[in-house]
Symmetry: C2
Subunit: 228 residues, 2 copies
Amino acid sequence: MPAATDKTSARRPKGELARERLKAAAVAVLERVGYHQLRIKDVTAEAGVAAGLFHHYYSDLQSLVEEILDEYIAEFEATGHIERDVSKGDWFNRLRSHYEVAVCKHAEHPGIMNCISQFCADDPAFRARWQASYNRRLQLLADVFPYVFPHSELAAHEVRLMVHALSGIGQDVLRERYIERNPDLLSLQLSEAELAEWLAALFYRGLFARNPPQGQLNHARKILSLTR
Amino acid sequence: MPAATDKTSARRPKGELARERLKAAAVAVLERVGYHQLRIKDVTAEAGVAAGLFHHYYSDLQSLVEEILDEYIAEFEATGHIERDVSKGDWFNRLRSHYEVAVCKHAEHPGIMNCISQFCADDPAFRARWQASYNRRLQLLADVFPYVFPHSELAAHEVRLMVHALSGIGQDVLRERYIERNPDLLSLQLSEAELAEWLAALFYRGLFARNPPQGQLNHARKILSLTR
DNA sequence: ATTGATCTTGAATCCAAATTCAATAATAAT
DNA sequence: ATTATTATTGAATTTGGATTCAAGATCAAT
């Protein structure tokens, strides 16, 4: 009897393969029709197997999607360590590298990024994990706050509010551009690096109340003209 | 024969009343269990009527929810004209008043604000309307950009990108605090006015690359200590 | 080459929820 | 008071899809 959620439900190479094919098929269908339209029979059809096989490997759609998203998040976190390239006090490039990851993820897998937020709404446990992952990244910035602003009068939770609020910069833009494909945002033909730089520059201004160092701007130099 | 989507399906005061009661019931259930868990029988039960009556007034749940959200958005837009209180060049208070509306809406009706974003995912036509409403508000700021920054070198679509990106400030915070009730953000006991001021101050910094005028800060004065 | 396990199929079944509808009650019009 | 219209009920039906399962195919082991 198959305890379908259990990974060991595939006990042979062939089984493992089928499992993977189901997963890949689900990703494909996900990108095509979105999470809310995802149906088991679509996944099995895409994978070229009988409908019944699904339940041999997964108990339900949720557990399959959960597995997909968890793997994606893990990959996301690994990429997150691009920060290591950045020299210690170089805040602008640190922000930029974070945004580069975010932009790339949206560009590569808009369907999955969208799925993450939709799945969060249905599965509190997953939501907690995703949020924890997000918080870990925010905390990287919150932790160094005292060094960045020696004269800061903010309490720890005020720092978190601030970082959290600023982190919203660009979230909606990324969703609109890559997920919803809003023509308004597609019209300006920015490369991913350019977009990341714009967003990093805005974050920098919000964080430091000044412009980023001119020398580090490659694409968004125009933003320096916004002062009075 | 009832063309149920048609508003005239209620042809007597009593009918109109029942319609309204269904709508109110749906809002209540929505706030309680969320859009994805919303069921017709829950709505009718909440309204204290038979299940079948639902289809006398609405063709399906979507059209009921759509009606609720459209009305809410209309109300939202009306409130948006708080701007009129603000004197011409007073950018900080203009931002603040926008944030006050946003914060209040989230505080009053977290379930509906959440529903809006979920409904957008399922109904492209509604999504277009919501986005148009959102864009109208963004455009208020984009339109005055040339006056705010006479030396701006940005093209119109770059201005829109910038305004759009900055408008993300706080969106996630509002969702986390009022919709998800994230303890991390509930722990700091900010009033709605205080939160709005913090967010406005951050937006102001991103927009102008400087701090808001000290005299206009009532609650978030600490933010001035963040400079180097 | 026989055995027992795993893999695969697809039709049959189940299920939750939407939807219909015939019957009854309330209301307005004359 | 009669009639026509609208409002309301709730049991019966339909729907869309998940889930089960008996039966056959494949495979590894001995």
